[in-house]
Amino acid sequence: MAEWVKVGSAGEVPDGEVTAFSAGDRQIAIANLDGDLHAFDDVCTHQQCSLAEGELEGTTIECPCHGSMFDVTSGEAIGGPAVDPVGVFEVKEEEGELRVLVDEE
């Protein structure tokens, strides 16, 4: 069952930036594209580096370690050595909180 989990505060991710948050034992990255938030697995499917430390260009996040590229809106692997996509999550700001919809494990 999926559940909305608070990971931070509303407004915590500035425009054009990506920040990593913990949701239980998951690391989730949240990107802010012109005010639209996109949440995705922070762990690169190539060699497990933190994607939030990478470069965000348009809708593409580029892994800081080995250059794998993912579309932050779909999670799709679109370049670099990674082949598998990263998971994406619904995200919203509500009641001053930053919340992500994650599956209970």
Binding site: Q47, E62, C65, G67, G80, P81, V83
Partner: protein, 403 residues
Amino acid sequence: MTAFVVVGAGEAGGTAAATLREEGFDGDVVLIGAEPMAPYERPPLSKEYLRGESDHVYVRPPGWYEEHAIQTRFGTRVERVHVADAVVELEGGERVAYDQVVIATGSRNRHPPIPGLDLPGVLDLRSAPDADAIKEAAKSGSKAVMVGMGFIGAEVAASLRELGLDVTVVEVFETPLEHVVGPEIGGAIEALHRDHGVEMIFRDGAERFEGDGRFEALVTKQGRRIEGDFAVIGVGVEAVTDVAGDGIPVDNGIPVDATLKTAVDKVWAIGDVARHDHPVFGPIRVEHFDNAMKMGQLVARNLLGARAVFDDAHWFWSDQYDANIQMAGFATEWDDMVVRGSIEDRSFSAFLLKEGQLLSTFSMNRTSDVRRSMPLIAAMAQPEREQLADPELDLRKLHPPKE
């Protein structure tokens, strides 16, 4: 039906064949490689794979090629590309006709004529079986003697130290990687390895390997005798151009234009073997993973008529211990180097410039500088020294305006 034949099934060749299908090509694709495995990534072989932390990382899952109707001939060496007949001759004499052929035969390790090089226990690293041999030697041995401290040497030294072995490296230059990055950055890499317990001997080289039926010691040119359980030699690579020679020019690899096409009709070359005419750097041959992958993608699109130019700024990484090293661009000589951050603290970027133009960026643990400098390198920009040196300045602010 149109037939595209790819000669060489490494990162470049595998990516080229796969990209043809991913771009919607439905003619014949034949992928021929001397190695028996499906195309795999080589970077882990000196790092995670060598340390037993990861299994093979494949370019595409091994079953992918059959699923996508790519004919594979793994474990099959190509003897020659016969351009007059437009056929590829395999070992044993079989001939495969092509409409277009892509040469992606890569490079092989240099084996200088050092006495004793053929002794069991004198190893080198290029392929997965090579990595397996080093892994095996590291299991039973406790002391490795290495010759050469380029990127592969440095990575293998780091992995062997992490596995708990004693490591001594002999290197002819004054620091690791001196001929690639200069003595100052080389010194930072030396310090990193010294702190992790690698014994390094510079300005010395291999005279001979000694042993009674098996490696026992390296004797250096300066007369040192360094004993060990096995040796690993890493002194560079050379392009594998054996399949050319029947009308395909060879000159430090196989020369191609900016679209990766050779001077010969229907013949292309990519990856380590391709000396490509780069719009910023001129004719260069690049022996890195990212280049192999991106050339594989681009040649596939060009085979399908795109006529795209390969203008990537070039980029690679090298993980050593907990240091993430990255480098972008290409510079064989430079007249100025600007450092931002701290070399001592191992958090720095070094910008290599010639006549004011940024040619290359090297970084240890400041990787965003490398990525952000690539548009500057591609644009042949001449950034101000103070701006490059300012760790607070985001290099994206210096990017040329987007079209």
